[in-house]
């Protein structure tokens, strides 16, 4: 009896999964389908953490996919659809924020930090080299050192 219940439970669960994941969209042409895929992976699922609407099965994400699909069917361009969503859900809905004054730090910031890091590293390396050079000995010092080193061994051979 328990096993039967388990089987029933598992089949109903998997049926549930099927019912929610399979969505059939009928596109006019391959280009439209490509745009759909691009758009749904660029738009953020607002009720999930860090998922695009292509990946998410949240109900709102499903409905946003439908909306994108309907707008594509109506002949709307990619940019028009993005503008539509941004107008309603703000810049947050975009995984790829627009390149503009407000978002400049976002786009340029990492490169600036990288360049600064390289500069610091080069300076650190140069400083380390200079110290090494300073450590080098003159010819006179080397003979002196050799003398010092040889003396005890001379004694030991005696």
């Amino acid at each position: 009896m328990k096993r039967l219940l388990l089987i029933l439970l598992l089949t109903s669960l998997s049926l549930g999964a099927l019912a929610t994941t399979i969505e059939v969209y009928d596109f006019d042409n391959p280009a439209q389908e490509r745009t759909f895929k691009e758009l749904t992976s660029e738009l953020r699922c607002l009720v999930c953490q860090n998922q695009d609407i292509a990946d998410s099965n949240a109900e709102l994400a499903q409905d946003m996919r439908h909306k994108v699909f309907r707008m594509l069917k109506d002949g709307k361009s990619k940019q028009e659809i993005i503008d539509f969503m941004v107008e309603r859900y703000g810049d947050f809905v975009r995984y790829k924020p627009a390149f503009e004054g407000r978002t400049l730090v976002l786009w340029i910031g990492p490169f600036v930090i990288f360049v600064l890091a390289v500069i610091f590293m080069l300076r650190a390396i140069r400083r380390a080299r200079q110290q090494e050079e300073r450590r080098e000995l003159s010819a006179e010092q080397i003979t002196q050192a050799a003398d010092l080193l040889e003396r005890p061994s001379d004694k030991s051979t005696d």
Binding site: V47, Q49, E59, L60, D63, M64, E87, Y89, D91
Partner: protein, 178 residues
């Protein structure tokens, strides 16, 4: 000694920043689930959806121009909406016009909920496919908008309405209806 000052300074600055952000988070800022409020000061998006009880009738925001009114997105699947419901009935008693949007719901469930608990709405749009919800930038329920007499959105509140929220955000638009 000199060498230690720079890293120490950076550490103190970062620690200060983290502490500040933590503090702000405690006050409800920087919530990763919060999305910036768009729409304030913009014209209410128009829709035409069938009425929940009378599908022949259509509910349109433009029909309510002339005085301030509320648009409330709800669904029987949303626990906060049930919690908020008695307060909506209070608002109705004070004469505040509320238009409901029964969002992502079964028609029978929505009807039953309002029949059993009372109907605070002057009209209820039935929106099973998120048509109006997406158009209004809604991403959770309940969500309430205040639209002024000229059809401009003035307030958006996410979460249940209650007296505190009402006084803070909405009351000044309905000064004749306290």
């Amino acid at each position: 000694m000199n060498k230690a000052i720079l890293p120490l300074g950076i550490f103190v600055a970062l620690a200060g920043l983290f502490f500040y952000v933590l503090q702000q988070m405690g006050e409800g800022e920087y919530n990763p689930r919060d999305i910036p409020t768009e729409f304030i000061g913009r014209a209410a998006p128009e829709f035409a959806l069938p009425e929940l009880f009378d599908p022949q009738q259509q509910v349109r925001p433009s029909a309510y121009k002339g005085k301030p009114w509320l648009l409330n997105f709800w669904g029987t699947w949303c626990p906060e909406c049930w919690r908020e419901h008695p307060y909506l009935l209070q608002l109705k008693a004070r004469g505040v016009p509320i238009v409901g949007v029964d969002w992502r719901d079964e028609r029978a469930d929505g009807q039953a909920m309002l029949r059993e608990n009372g109907n605070p709405f002057v009209a209820v749009a039935f929106d099973p496919d998120s048509t109006a919800a997406i158009d209004w930038g809604v991403y959770g329920a309940p969500e309430t908008f205040l639209i002024d007499a000229d059809g401009i959105i003035r307030v958006k509140h996410k979460g249940a309405l209650n007296e505190t929220v009402w006084r803070e955000k909405f009351a000044r638009w309905f000064e004749d209806k306290q």
